[in-house]
């Protein structure tokens, strides 16, 4: 029988995958961050009572985890091997085939960590309101930053 946790992951695995692509630079880091996101969602899902949309909930946890990951909070080898030391996931199929997608991820990775989150939410067609709710900033701030970030992204991709 599928648990709530499994359902949440299956329905939102795209969020984890894309945020891991955006916040990591190699397969090892990808697997490490993906695993940590799974752990964090699993812990939080026990206390989730439907106060927000599930995708909002997943985004908040994954972005928090990714930012902590990049800030190297508590990233000891011991901690990330706590789940029996093996990578639990099968590696993502070769996603590098699409050169345009490669370039898009590379361009996003050049942005500041917080800006990567804003762009990811924008590309997933989240509203300003939802983006503001996830990040804890104002809608106006989201709009202002997104306008600048879209320009930056286009410049990087047309070079």
């Amino acid at each position: 029988m599928e648990t709530d946790f499994e359902r949440i992951i299956k329905e939102n695995i795209g969020i984890l995958h894309k945020l891991c692509r955006v916040y990591t630079y190699n397969a090892g880091e990808y697997a490490e961050l993906f695993q940590e996101m799974l752990v964090q969602i699993w812990r939080a899902s026990e206390k989730f009572r439907g106060e927000a949309k599930i995708s909002t909930f997943v985004y908040q946890i994954c972005i928090n985890t990714a930012l902590s990951f990049r800030a190297k909070i508590g990233r000891s080898k011991k901690r990330f091997e706590s789940l029996d030391g093996k990578i639990l996931v099968q590696p993502a199929p070769d996603a590098e085939k699409d050169e345009r997608l490669q370039r898009l991820y590379a361009a996003i990775r050049e942005l500041k960590p917080v800006d990567r989150a804003i762009v990811s939410l924008y590309l997933d067609e989240k509203s300003y309101e939802e983006t503001a709710q996830i990040l804890g900033i104002s809608k106006t701030n989201v709009a202002t930053r997104l306008s600048r970030l879209k320009k930056q992204l286009m410049e990087k991709l047309t070079v």
């Binding site: 946790f5 499994e6 695995i13 795209g14 984890l16 995958h17 894309k18 993906f34 799974l38 752990v39 964090q40 699993w42 812990r43 026990e46 206390k47 989730f48 106060e51 927000a52 908040q60 928090n64 985890t65 930012l67 902590s68 990049r70 800030a71 190297k72 909070i73 508590g74 901690r79 706590s82 789940l83 029996d84 639990l88 996931v89 099968q90 993502a92 199929p93 996603a95 699409d98 345009r100 997608l101 898009l104 960590p113 917080v114 800006d115 590309l123 997933d124 067609e125 709710q133 996830i134 990040l135 804890g136 900033i137 104002s138 106006t140 701030n141 879209k150 992204l153 286009m154 991709l157």
Partner: protein, 191 residues
């Protein structure tokens, strides 16, 4: 590429990895059980340390001050240390709130560690001497004995401050600065 093409490209990326959920659930349960056992052991150890510290007081009643210091350390400081290493994120909350909480947790840990190292520990040393009867020598007054401890205490205090600040600078300050930087990025443009 225009904006719509970018969104289509992004949303078309379905290359997420496959997860063996049975193995994952089992590993998570095992990990969670290990964590609960670890927390239980830590709580028992804490309690036992506090109790054991009071045993010598029956033989050397003046060690009560030192014992109280250890008890305060156990109750006031060790949980703070544990909070720092907790895998939080089980708190609901937006990204900004989460970052702010992490910063507060680290700053609280720094503050408490400084109080323990710079204030409590130097007081604990004379308390041990006092408890073991060093201040009971009939030939010297209490104030003479206290003054004789001043020089070693000053040296101890200076070395403690240097060691503690180096410890923070190496282990925690880079991460704290990065968290503050992330919060500043979020706050940029906020009115």
């Amino acid at each position: 590429m225009n904006e719509e093409e970018l969104k289509s490209l992004w949303q078309a990326d379905q290359a997420a990895p496959t997860i063996d959920f049975a193995k994952l659930q089992k590993s998570l349960s095992v990990w969670h059980d290990k964590l609960r056992r670890k927390v239980k052991i830590e709580i028992w150890l804490q309690g036992a340390t506090v109790v054991l510290t009071f045993i010598p007081v029956f033989f050397y009643p003046k060690l009560i001050f030192f014992a109280l210091f250890i008890a305060v350390l156990g109750v006031w400081y060790i949980p703070e240390l544990r909070k720092l290493y907790q895998r939080e994120n089980d708190k609901k909350g937006d990204v900004k709130n989460s970052l702010s909480m992490k910063i507060l947790t680290m700053q609280r840990y720094f503050r408490r560690t400084r109080i323990v190292m710079y204030v409590f520990t130097p007081l604990a040393i004379p308390a041990v001497f006092y408890g073991l009867g060093f201040f009971d020598k009939p030939s010297a007054t209490f104030s003479d004995l206290m003054f004789s401890l001043i020089k070693p205490l000053i040296i101890y205090e200076v070395l403690t401050i240097i060691a503690t600040e180096i410890y923070f600078a190496i282990l925690y300050t880079p991460a704290l600065n990065e968290l503050k930087n992330l919060l500043r990025q979020l706050d940029f443009n906020e009115n």
